[in-house]
């Protein structure tokens, strides 16, 4: 009997060894994979438990915060800047660009991280403070009205983006429930019109053509040009002005103010493709703009070499041009700061969970587009356009505002897209602004008044 009992003991011992092996298999060998397996609810729990950091506007007002593991939004108008954070649909905007800091995976000192992991305390994320002024953005939202479009305001001295409004917007906190409607809506609310929207720029592009013509010495602002009939023919194609200039001959500065397609078509042909492309590229077109948010690259023309008529239409803003409001704002900003293109940014500062500053964005330049002299001439020409030309609706009492309107063909049968790009004050510019209203008609009537309302407030807000 003794030996049998001993063998029973051996059986149990072996069985416990087998069970220990099985425990080791599941916990040590398969453990790391099981811990992060998609079906393991702990993956989601860890994300939920983590206190994701807030996103603040430039004044420290919270735009997005975390409450009980959910994102809450103060306002939908900054949706495209903050972006959304969803377990199902991923991340966009700042939620994507600064995810590591917001989630607390980065920006935590090694010792604090070790203590946190040992104690099992939930991750706390850092803070991202934006350059966006949410009150100014709200002004822009009201001014733009209930249309699709975008408003960008840049502090030209730094490149800080003060307003980046894209409409229609949505509540990013409810993206999971709203998703079917958002993703299939033909108005494409998920997409950030400011940096991802690509539009024909219309007459606003004449600034680039003018910059090339002045900078290469082809023309001066005082050079006399003529456009007596409001139309011309190039290679059999008829080119017309939207509105015939009031005088048959005038100087080049008035050609911009009155937005003469006829003059700019001829200027484009004289400049030639190479110089036009060169200057567009100097302003940043054709490459990826370095920016925290998603951007789409703009382009001058896919066709190379361009035909004369394509070159002519490109010069006054049609052709195959694809322009984003952000890129257009950089054109304005470059003119405002003596030809130097600023690098745009929306993140002012990133802070650790403790509040200590982790990184502060330093202003930078993307390169030089024109000489300071050319930029000064362009500023005066933009001022003229607001004082005497189509940009009159953008005038702000007591401040010299420079600007250029644009009316761009959209879809056949629908109203045009309406553009305005402006700078203020002309003498010592602080701000560059771009307004884009989709399918709304004439730039002078639609976009320019919006710019005025925003500039009025922005000039007070940004000393």
């Amino acid at each position: 009997m003794e030996r049998q009992i001993q063998r029973v003991g051996m059986f149990f011992l072996l069985s416990f060894v087998v069970l220990s092996g099985a425990a080791g298999y599941w916990q040590a060998w398969r453990g790391p994979a099981l811990a992060v397996a998609p079906g393991n609810p702990r993956v989601l729990e860890a994300e939920r438990r983590a206190q994701r950091g807030p996103i603040l506007d430039r004044a420290g007002r919270p735009l997005v915060q975390s409450e009980d593991g959910r994102r809450t939004t103060a306002t939908p108008i900054t949706a495209h800047v903050t972006g959304y954070f969803s377990y199902r649909y991923g991340r966009t905007g700042i939620e994507r660009a600064n995810n590591e800091v917001l989630s607390g995976r980065e920006g935590v000192p090694p010792l604090a991280r070790l203590l946190r992991d040992l104690s099992g305390a939930p991750r706390r994320g850092g803070t991202v403070q934006l350059t966006i002024d949410s009150q100014l953005q709200a002004v822009a939202d009201r001014a733009l009205g209930d249309v699709r479009g975008a408003v960008v305001v840049i502090d030209v001295r730094t490149g800080a983006v003060l307003v980046a409004l894209s409409k229609p917007y949505f509540d990013t906190a409810r993206v999971d429930e709203l998703w079917p409607g958002l993703s299939q809506n033909e108005a494409r609310p998920l997409y950030n019109r400011v940096s991802q929207g690509l539009y024909v720029p219309g007459s606003t592009f004449k600034l680039v053509t003018a910059a090339a013509a002045l900078d290469t010495g082809l023309l001066r602002p005082s050079t006399q040009v003529s456009d007596p009939t409001g139309e011309t023919v190039i290679d059999g194609f008829r080119i017309t002005d939207a509105e015939r200039p009031p005088r048959p001959t005038f100087d080049f500065a008035h050609a911009l103010a009155w937005s003469s397609n006829v003059v700019f078509a001829q200027v484009g042909v004289q400049l030639g493709e190479e110089r036009l492309r060169d200057y567009a590229g100097r302003f940043g077109m054709g490459r990826q703009i370095p920016f925290e948010l998603e951007t789409s690259p703009t382009s001058v023309s896919r066709t190379a070499p361009m035909s004369r008529i394509l070159l002519a239409s490109t010069a006054f803003g049609q052709g195959e041009l694809l322009m984003s409001p952000l890129q257009m704002a950089l054109v304005g900003a470059a003119i405002a700061r003596d030809g130097d293109v600023p690098r745009p940014f929306v993140v002012q500062e990133v802070r650790r969970p403790s509040g200590a500053v982790l990184a502060r964005t330093q202003p930078a330049t993307l390169g030089r587009a024109t000489t300071p002299g050319t930029a000064a001439q362009l500023r005066e020409m933009m001022a003229l356009a607001v004082e005497e030309g189509f940009g009159r609706a953008a005038a702000v009492p007591g401040v010299r505002v420079g600007g250029k309107t644009g009316t761009a063909q959209s879809v056949p049968g629908l109203p045009d897209h309406s553009w305005f790009v402006g700078i203020a004050p002309v003498e010592r510019p602080r701000l560059a602004i771009v307004v884009l209203k989709e399918f709304s008609g004439w730039g002078a009537e639609e976009a320019a008044p919006v710019a005025r309302q925003v500039l009025e407030r922005a000039l007070q807000a940004v000393p």
Partner: protein
């Protein structure tokens, strides 16, 4: 070894057995110096360390005061253990000093886990543990004799069969497990199979001691096989039938496996022929195969066992979640109170091992297995030290119940064998199971005490 068979006074042979004086009348030795149990006291105090530090940990993680009512059951149990020690001391108990600390640590871990997993149930579990300890102490030091177990073996067998019959007819399913394995009212019910396992072991021990010589000696030669006389095969077949009945009618695979396995172990120890074990295993496998072929629920169990990832959100949700839990625990665990074991359905009855594996890691899982291995070792040691065959067989059988039940449930948890619904001894939530297991430990303590108290000079006459 079957040769060591001490003579035992014939039951009811008129003369009082010499050892009964030692057992049931401890006052006889009161003049002697007290039997200190320093080892037991030391071990009990050591057991309290993890129990109370676990309580402190939970209070820290939950942010609740240590005086919170939900921790009271743990304090109650911490007082209960030393109390048990002093009762044994006062009753001049001379048996194993390791058994009480072992089951105390297991029941303590169980109570800690239940406090963590289902705080509302811990008070009930403490009451059951308290009742269990009373039963254990009454059996260990109360005025009775183990001979009574041997003498009335058929009564116990009848009682056991009556229990099974009652459950078959009147069984209820108070907690919606889909199996009618309980007797009583939904408010107060007990699981007869828990009592049945003790009754069956007592009966087997008595029966096999009676018949072992016959089972061993007479053999029918049938080709190369040596069969025992057919009437004596009856218990084997009857037990097989009972197991299959449990399996088919009650769908209680765990109990079937447990009863049959314990029976085989006892048969092997009594008769000493491995042949019986092999035949028994073959019978069980054959029965299992037949069930697999003819019963959908058995087939489902096996299929989910072979591939739990085939339907992890549906039928295999429980086992998949349990494996996620264990895997997430890794080597050292996520910390008590800091994991998500409650994703595993019925975790505190069916998967406490996996909850410990998640929060305490592989280290704790192996430690728990070690405790069970020590418990089995301790029980088998008591069996080896016992000199009477009935005592030996009884101790082996009772130990095998605890050991096999642990193997079956932990093996099921770790996907080594198909999952069954038996409880993890002393750890799972459940009153019937706790009571029955404390009863088993009480009998083991009694056996070790009787052995220690028996005069060494007892003649060991060989037949």
């Amino acid at each position: 070894m079957g040769t060591l068979t001490p003579a035992r006074p014939a039951a009811g042979a008129g003369g009082v057995a010499p050892r009964t004086r030692w057992v049931s009348s401890p006052e006889g030795g009161r003049a002697a110096r007290p039997v200190w149990r320093w080892r037991e006291l030391g071990l009990v105090l050591i057991v309290l360390v993890p129990l109370l530090s676990g309580t402190v940990l939970l209070s820290a993680v939950w942010g609740r005061s240590l005086a919170d009512p939900r921790f009271w059951p743990l304090y109650g149990f911490s007082a209960l253990l030393p109390l048990c020690h002093f009762v044994l001391l006062a009753r001049r108990f001379r048996g194993s000093q390791v058994l009480l600390p072992l089951v105390g640590s297991l029941a303590g871990i169980g109570l800690l886990l239940i406090t963590r997993l289902a705080p509302t149930l811990s008070a009930r579990q403490l009451i059951w543990a308290l009742s269990g300890c009373v039963v254990m102490l009454a059996v260990a030091v109360g005025p009775w004799e183990t001979r009574l177990l041997e003498r009335y073996k058929y009564t116990y067998a009848a009682a056991g069969i009556a229990l099974v019959a009652l459950t078959l007819v009147f069984g209820i399913d108070p907690n919606g497990s889909g199996m009618r394995l309980w007797l009583g009212t939904p408010a107060l019910s007990f699981q007869p199979s828990e009592i049945l396992k003790v009754l069956l072991v007592v009966f087997f021990a008595g029966y096999l001691v009676d018949k072992r010589e016959l089972l061993k000696a007479k053999q029918l030669h049938w080709g190369p096989l040596r069969l025992p006389p057919l009437p004596y095969l009856a218990p084997l077949l009857a037990m097989w039938g009972l197991s299959l009945l449990l399996l088919i009618w009650q769908r209680d695979l765990g109990a079937a496996l447990l009863f049959f396995g314990v029976f085989l172990i006892m048969l092997y120890v009594a008769v000493g022929r491995a042949w019986y074990v092999l035949a028994g295993v073959a019978l069980f496998l054959a029965g299992g195969a037949i069930c697999y072929l003819f019963f959908a629920h058995v087939r489902l169990r096996v299929e989910l066992w072979l591939n739990p990832w085939v339907d992890p959100l549906g039928r295999s949700y429980q086992i998949a979640q349990a494996l996620y839990a264990a895997g997430s625990g890794g080597l050292w665990g996520v910390g008590l109170g800091q994991g998500y074991p409650l994703y595993v359905p019925a975790v505190y009855t069916d998967f406490p091992f996996m909850a410990l594996a998640e929060e305490g890691g592989l280290a704790s899982a192996l430690a728990l297995l070690l405790l069970y291995a020590l418990l089995v070792g301790c029980g088998l040691q008591i069996a080896l030290r016992a000199r009477l065959p009935f005592d030996r067989l009884l101790a082996t059988g009772l130990t095998a119940v605890l050991g096999l039940q642990t193997l079956v449930i932990v093996g099921g948890n770790l996907k080594v064998i198909p999952l069954t619904g038996v409880t993890l001894p002393f750890v799972s939530y459940g009153g019937s199971s706790l009571l029955a297991n404390f009863l088993i430990v009480g009998i083991l303590l009694r056996l070790s005490h009787e052995e220690a108290a028996r005069p060494l000079a007892l003649p060991a006459a060989s037949p």
